[in-house]
C-alpha cells in the first residue's frame, strides 16, 4: 500500500507513479512491481487517423503552382519578359504564407503567423513598387502595413488575455479602427505633403471612439444592458 507524498492519495498496485501529479512511488518497504494485470490493456486502438494537414497544404500549394506556371509562360511567350505574371506569383506567395503555411504546424502560433502575414503583405507591396517603378513603398506602403500589423496583433493579444465579453470586444475594435484611421491619414499626409495634416480622420475617430466608449460603458452597466435586451427581445 503506497501513498503519494504530494497528493495524499493511496495508489492502486498498478500505479508506478501518482496519476495526479506524476511523482514516482517511493516505498522502500514495498518497491513497485508490475502487476500481473493492468486496469487497461497495452493494446492501443487504431482509430481513424487525422487528415494530414501538411499533405493537404502541399497539394493545394501544387494546384496554386499551375496558374503561376501558365501566367509566366504566357508572359514570356508574349516577348516582354517577366511583367504582369510577377503580380500573380506574388499573390500566390501571399496566399501560401497567410493561408497554407499554418497547416504545416500543429499549433497556431499567433504572433509568428500574423507577423509572417504582414511581412508577406509588405513584400508583395515592395514587389508591386519595383514592378510599377514607383517610390512609395518605404514612405507609405511599409508604415501602413506595419500600423495595420501592430493594431491586429495588439487586438488578438488583448482578446487572448481575456477580453472575452462581446461588447468589450466591439468597443476595443471600434477604438482601434478610429486610431488606425488617424494613423493612416498621418502617414499619407506625411508622404504627400511632408507634414501632418488632419482632414477626414478626426471625423472617423470621433464616432468610432464614442461608440467604442459607449459599448465599453454598456458592458459595465449590467442593468442598462438587461433593460435594452428586455426592450429588443424577439
Amino acid at each position: 500500500m503506497s501513498y503519494c507524498v504530494n497528493c495524499g492519495v493511496e495508489l492502486a498496485d498498478s500505479e508506478k507513479r501518482c496519476p495526479l501529479c506524476h511523482v514516482e512511488v517511493q516505498n522502500p518497504k514495498a518497491p513497485w512491481e508490475e502487476p500481473p494485470e493492468r486496469p487497461y490493456s497495452h493494446h492501443v486502438n487504431t482509430i481513424m487517423k487525422r487528415i494530414d494537414r501538411g499533405y493537404l497544404a502541399t497539394l493545394v500549394g501544387l494546384l496554386l503552382f499551375i496558374p503561376c506556371v501558365v501566367t509566366v509562360l504566357l508572359d514570356i511567350l508574349s516577348g516582354n519578359g517577366l511583367t504582369w505574371s510577377a503580380y500573380v506569383i506574388g499573390a500566390v506567395g501571399l496566399v501560401y504564407v497567410s493561408v497554407l503555411m499554418p497547416f504545416y504546424f500543429k499549433k497556431y502560433h499567433t504572433l509568428a503567423f500574423l507577423s509572417a502575414d504582414f511581412g508577406a503583405v509588405a513584400l508583395y507591396l515592395f514587389l508591386i513598387e519595383r514592378m510599377s517603378g514607383g517610390h512609395w513603398f518605404l514612405g507609405l506602403g511599409l508604415p501602413l502595413t506595419a500600423a495595420a500589423g501592430v493594431c491586429t496583433i495588439g487586438l488578438v493579444f488583448l482578446f487572448a488575455r481575456g477580453f472575452s465579453m462581446i461588447l468589450m470586444k466591439i468597443g476595443v475594435i471600434m477604438i482601434t479602427i478610429g486610431l488606425f484611421l488617424v494613423c493612416v491619414e498621418t502617414l499619407t499626409s506625411l508622404y504627400v505633403h511632408g507634414a501632418v495634416r488632419f482632414a477626414w480622420s478626426l471625423y472617423a475617430l470621433i464616432p468610432c471612439a464614442s461608440l467604442g466608449a459607449a459599448t465599453l460603458i454598456l458592458e459595465r452597466r449590467k442593468s442598462l444592458k438587461e433593460s435594452i435586451r428586455r426592450r429588443l427581445f424577439y
Binding site: 503519494c4 495524499g8 492502486a12
Partner: protein, 430 residues
C-alpha cells in the same frame, strides 16, 4: 429471434434527447459512455458473445442501426450483434458504426471486466446500466448456471420487450409550456490535447460511508457534496490561470438528472435532463461551505418535476415545430451542429454524472466485484466524471482528453484535505 421477412420493416424514431447526437457526431468524436462490471473470474469471450445475443433480444433499441430519412435520422432493426472485442488502452475510443456491424454500442472485455460502450442516441446512463446488468446476468447464467431473479433493472430475456421499454418518455410527459435554456457560458479547462487521441482515465475509490457522513453533516446529498468539491477545484484552477477577477467566468458543473424518479416509466431509452449548479467567482472567493450552499439551494430549486418538465417541453416543442419538421435532414444537421457547437457543453465547466447506489441481488453480487461508470470525452469539455456506488465503495471515474491531470489532482486533493481517504487507479502510459 426475428422474422427476417418483417425485420427490415421494424424501425423506431430517435427519442427527443437522442436527436442531437447523430447530427453532432464527428468522424473522430461521438457521444459515448461506458459501464463496466468487474467479475471475480476471468471473462470468457465466447460466453460473453452468447450472453450479448440473449440480452439483445430484450433490448430492441440496442439491436438497431442508424439510418438517414428525408427529415430525421431513425433507427432500423439490425440482425446479429456487434463483435465482442478485447478492451483497449483507454475507454470510449471513437466508435465506427460500419466496422461495428452497424450497431451503436460495443461490448469489450479485459481480464475479469466486461464493459459496454454506448452511443448516447441509444439510451442514457440508467438505461445503459440496465443493459449491463442484464448482460452480466445472462453471462453468469450461461457461464455458471446462476439463477438470478429478474426485475425492472435486470430484465428477463426470455420475455418479450414491453411497449413501455421503447417509448419516448419525453414526448409522453412533456407539456405545453417550456422555459428558456439561456444561461451564461462557463469557464472551461484548457490543456494540451493528446495528438493520438489517447483518453486518460483516473478512478478514485472512496469509502461511500465517509463521504455520506460528511454530506449528512452538512445536510446535503452526496451528489451535491461532490459537485461542490468539483466546483472548488475548477475555481482554484481558474483563479490560477486568469489574471484579473473581472475576467473570471462562472464555474458550473453539469449534473444530469434521471427523470424516471418523477414519472412512472420503465423506458430503456434516454430520459434524463440536467442542471448546471455553480458559482460566479467574480463576486468574490467562495469557501467550500458557501459553494455547497449555492449548489444545494440551486438543486433544491431546480430539480423539481415542474421545472425539469418545462425544460424538456422546450425541446419537445422545438421538435414538434411544423417548419422544423419539414426541413430536410441535411439542413437540420447543419443547424443542429451549429446549435450544439454554440450551446452543447459550453454552459458548464465539467460534468458529474452520478448513477447513485447500484444494488445487485445476492445471487449476482457474489460474482461481481466492482462496477464503473465513465463518461466518454465530451465535445468541448476536456474532463468529465462518472460516479456510482457499489458494495460500499464510491467509484469516481474521471475521463479527460488533455494531458494535464489538473482537475482530478485538485479535486482528489480537496477530498483528502476534507479528511476523505481516496485510492486512485489510472490508465496512464508508463
Amino acid at each position: 429471434m426475428t422474422d427476417k421477412k418483417t425485420a427490415h420493416k421494424r424501425w423506431m424514431k430517435l427519442d427527443n434527447a437522442a436527436k442531437i447526437y447523430p447530427a453532432a457526431k464527428r468522424r473522430r468524436w461521438k457521444a459515448l459512455f461506458r459501464l463496466s462490471a468487474t467479475l471475480t473470474e476471468t471473462v470468457d469471450p465466447a460466453v460473453l458473445e452468447e450472453a450479448q445475443h440473449a440480452a439483445l433480444a430484450r433490448f430492441p433499441g440496442f439491436a438497431t442501426k442508424l439510418k438517414k430519412g428525408a427529415f430525421w435520422y431513425y433507427m432500423e432493426h439490425n440482425e446479429g450483434g456487434p463483435p465482442v472485442e478485447p478492451d483497449g488502452a483507454y475507454p470510449c475510443p471513437p466508435l465506427n458504426f460500419r466496422e461495428n456491424n452497424g450497431f451503436m454500442f460495443r461490448v469489450r472485455y479485459h481480464g475479469k471486466r466486461i464493459a459496454v460502450e454506448i452511443f448516447h442516441a441509444l439510451t442514457d446512463g440508467s438505461g445503459g446500466l440496465c443493459f449491463l446488468k442484464t448482460l452480466v446476468a445472462e453471462y453468469l447464467r450461461i457461464r455458471y448456471g446462476a439463477d438470478i431473479p429478474r426485475d425492472n433493472e435486470i430484465l428477463d430475456c426470455t420475455a418479450p420487450p414491453t411497449p413501455g421499454e421503447t417509448e419516448d418518455a419525453y414526448l409522453k410527459y412533456a407539456r405545453d409550456i417550456g422555459r428558456s435554456r439561456r444561461e451564461p457560458d462557463a469557464y472551461y479547462l484548457k490543456g494540451t490535447r493528446e495528438t493520438d487521441g489517447y483518453i486518460h482515465s483516473v478512478t478514485g475509490m472512496i469509502p461511500v460511508d465517509e463521504v455520506l457522513k460528511r454530506a449528512k453533516e452538512k445536510q446535503v446529498s452526496l451528489t451535491e457534496y461532490l459537485t461542490a468539491a468539483l466546483i472548488m477545484a475548477v475555481d482554484k484552477i481558474q483563479r490560477r490561470k486568469i489574471w484579473h477577477q473581472k475576467l473570471y467566468k462562472p464555474v458550473k458543473v453539469c449534473v444530469p438528472i434521471n427523470l424516471r424518479q418523477f414519472y412512472p416509466t420503465n423506458t430503456m431509452r434516454n430520459f434524463a435532463s440536467y442542471v448546471n449548479p455553480g458559482i460566479d467567482p467574480r463576486y468574490g472567493q467562495y469557501d467550500f461551505d458557501e459553494a455547497l450552499n449555492a449548489v444545494h439551494h440551486y438543486m433544491r430549486a431546480e430539480v423539481t418535476e415542474k421545472l425539469l418538465n418545462a425544460k424538456i417541453s422546450t425541446n419537445v416543442r422545438t421538435e414538434k415545430h411544423a417548419a422544423l419538421r419539414l426541413t430536410p435532414l441535411f439542413l437540420k444537421n447543419i443547424a443542429m451542429k451549429w446549435t450544439f457547437a454554440r450551446v452543447g457543453d459550453r454552459k458548464s465547466s465539467t460534468s458529474i454524472s452520478n448513477l447513485g447506489l447500484v444494488r445487485l441481488p445476492d445471487e449476482m453480487a457474489r460474482y461481481v466485484a466492482r462496477i464503473d461508470f465513465l463518461l466518454g470525452p465530451l465535445s468541448r469539455t476536456k474532463v468529465a466524471c462518472g460516479a456510482l456506488s457499489y458494495q460500499g465503495v464510491l467509484y469516481l471515474n474521471f475521463t479527460r482528453t488533455i494531458r494535464e491531470s489538473v482537475l482530478e489532482r485538485e479535486f482528489f486533493r480537496y477530498l483528502v484535505r476534507l479528511g476523505i481517504p481516496v485510492k486512485v487507479e489510472s490508465n496512464d502510459r508508463w
